[in-house]
Symmetry: C2
Subunit: 420 residues, 2 copies
């Protein structure tokens, strides 16, 4: 083994050891994690990452929305190539989603610095690592909150005043965990992120690196169904205005939208549904739910939206309820910069890593970032496509290949290969 | 105005004043109450009633399941004619449901004692008032818990270990509010209860007193729908095992059972539904719900049960979920003793109160009591049939007529007119 491959083996071992340490924070019995935004477990990951970065010479900054940055500067005053993802998780979730990307970014940054230390002149851009606040959006909506504020798509004051289901605001929650920061957001010139695929395309084709060309478009609706509270036993059926019946019809209608779309071109779901007053013998007066439509085809999505609105009207009549769309959050299909995809494709080739171009079905912070700077989004395989589940899994070999890939992408971006 | 009618006016005023005082406990802004079992508001009603009874010479006892009895003894050692209902409420409920029956019982008992004080010899039975614990079953299931334990239909230890949704047991909750009693349950010879109808039959026909002949039969199921946690965005639709979709299909299927039943002979509902993990971007892995079927016709109910079980199998296949009936609680149609109905009918006639025979769609503690002692169940009208709702309403005139009616029923029962 030569000096380089010995060093590579040491680096890989260090990455896996750090990933195991990070995975122990908020660990669940079945090998997953539970680290919802601004909870104790989320705080513990921020403390862990901040310490890790400081120990390796990064300048650590926390901004007002709780994003944690680690900066390495070799060219004073130059903008940064930012890499990262998120350490928060869904309830009872996998240990790879987001956390892998943050740790891969941190290791890639350190490897890059070590590489630059031996070169005659530093590259024109510095490098930074980020742990975005509340990417998941399970406790506070919308998701991708930290990158939303960073990119100016989401107003800081509005984000800070967002309540969780117990009425605790983001501001209060960040103060409670000691991560309502005052640090300045760094000026950046590019962004790179690596994430587990959360689908089974890479695994099915035996490919290691996914090169994300574009996101799926999404329509996300927060819906309130209103009925009238009554006795489940004594109230005549025809007099009931049952909000839960209306909501149930809506869940079914959302699922049946896929029957009118081309195969695999539309995903629909309701993942959160809350009933008031939720007593066994009371007809519900109100149900709140989150309904998503996603498609790689804007026309398919708009047709689904039209059908959904027609379903609202039908259900209002049939279940004697009122349906209100309280909030809607739309993402369009927007490509990542083609030059970044091509660059990453060439790098994978040089590294001997199998690769394919693909779309992302899930939203990622890079979905926000690509609209303000050149952005590269990479995937590594997810076993059986399992996601948002404790049994999410990616092999060590794929994790390590991804860190190698991300390091090289960051190296080229710092060198200025992907300018605006 | 003669002495009797002057006294009657004073008694009526006292009843309405007490009802207003009782309604202030746990009052909601819209004129309802929220006093779920063994909460602070429920405790406050128990303290209020205990004080009221003691001040009027009742012996107050609280038993192990938190039932509160007030006893008046004029024939030492004789069994009691018990009257009462419940002071607990649904969330955000009306002020009449249960509370009216308890206060009517207390006032009827006092009126009866005053009447007996002037008679040459006391009647053979004593009289007692009861506030049953947890009739509503919103916080702890099953409903009618206090009378269930009293009648031996529900095991005391099992009832005490029942957890609420936060894992607090009935035992702990009763200890916390200071109503885990050690008092002996009184020996009884009969039971009478008055309640608001919670339907609109009496109002529609302009009738004051409902004479309950029988209950509707009910099948109550606690259902668990199991799927698999996944990402709402990235997981392919055909791979989803969405517990919320399965539950929604079940809510709709339960409603559609009425299309196969004779008109107005079947009531179906799901009032409580809880999703895990209930995040906007996670396909639910588990949904728990309570499903009720009720009918005045056992055959209709059994046909609905068969259809429902077939629906379970269909939904399991179609939504790729598993459906488990974790608990089921059945009530059959059982008549109240016909002699009690006839006696009450005659009394209403003597008092000049309009009356009709009818069924009860809702369950009541009397549904339990009628199986162990002669029981009379009376209704007064509910405006528009509104029930389990803050806008539940019964007029003062109807409330007062009901107290007069109940007093006379108790008088005859104490005298031994309705023996086993």
């Amino acid at each position: 083994m030569g000096i380089d491959s010995e060093q590579a083996a040491v680096d890989d071992e260090a990455f896996l050891a750090d990933f195991a340490a990070l995975s122990a924070i908020g660990a669940t019995e079945s090998g997953g994690v539970e680290r919802q935004a601004a909870t104790d477990a989320d705080r513990a990951t921020k403390v862990w990452l901040g310490d890790w970065l400081r120990q390796r010479g990064f300048e650590v900054r926390v901004d007002a929305i709780g994003n944690l940055f680690g900066l390495l500067e070799w060219t004073p005053g130059a903008p940064y190539i930012l890499m990262g993802s998120h350490l928060d998780s869904q309830p009872c979730a996998g240990r790879f989603d987001g956390a892998y990307g943050v740790l891969a970014a941190a290791h890639a940054a350190v490897r890059l610095r070590d590489r630059i230390a031996g070169s005659p002149e530093p590259p024109p851009f510095n490098v930074a690592v980020v742990n975005w606040f509340n990417e998941e959006g399970s406790r506070f909506q919308p998701s991708m909150m930290g990158s939303g504020v960073f990119t100016g798509k989401l107003d800081l004051a509005e984000a800070l005043s967002t309540p969780d289901s117990d009425g605790v605001s983001v501001q209060q929650a960040l103060e409670e965990i000691g991560f309502a920061g005052t640090g300045q957001m760094p000026e950046i010139a590019g962004y790179a992120e690596i994430h587990v695929e959360q689908g089974r395309e890479l695994e099915a084709e035996g490919v290691t690196i996914g090169l994300v060309e574009s996101n799926w478009a999404a329509h996300k609706y927060r819906v309130v169904v209103r009925g009238e509270q009554a006795h489940t036993g004594s109230t005549a059926m025809e007099e009931r205005r049952d909000a839960l019946l209306g909501a149930a019809r809506l869940v079914v209608a959302a699922r049946e939208l896929i029957d009118h779309a081309p195969p695999r071109r539309l995903h629909t779901s309701v993942g959160q549904l809350t009933v008031t007053p939720n007593s066994p013998v009371v007809v519900a007066r109100e149900v709140k739910l989150h309904l998503d439509l996603r498609s790689p085809d804007q026309e398919v999505l708009e047709e689904a939206d039209r059908r959904l609105r027609a379903e609202f009207a039908r259900i209002e009549r049939e279940a004697q309820v009122e349906i209100e769309v309280a909030k809607a959050h739309f993402w369009e299909i927007e490509p990542y910069q083609p030059a970044g995809v091509s660059m990453a494709e060439a790098i994978a080739g040089e590294l001997g890593l199998s690769r394919r171009r693909m779309l992302t079905l899930a939203g990622h912070d890079s979905t926000n970032m690509k609209d303000i700077v050149p952005t590269v989004m990479l995937f590594v395989p997810s076993a059986q496509g399992i996601a948002h589940n404790e049994f999410e899994y990616t092999s060590d070999a794929d994790l390590l290949a991804g860190v190698t890939m991300l390091t090289e992408v960051a190296s080229r971006m710092c060198r200025g290969d992907l300018k605006n």
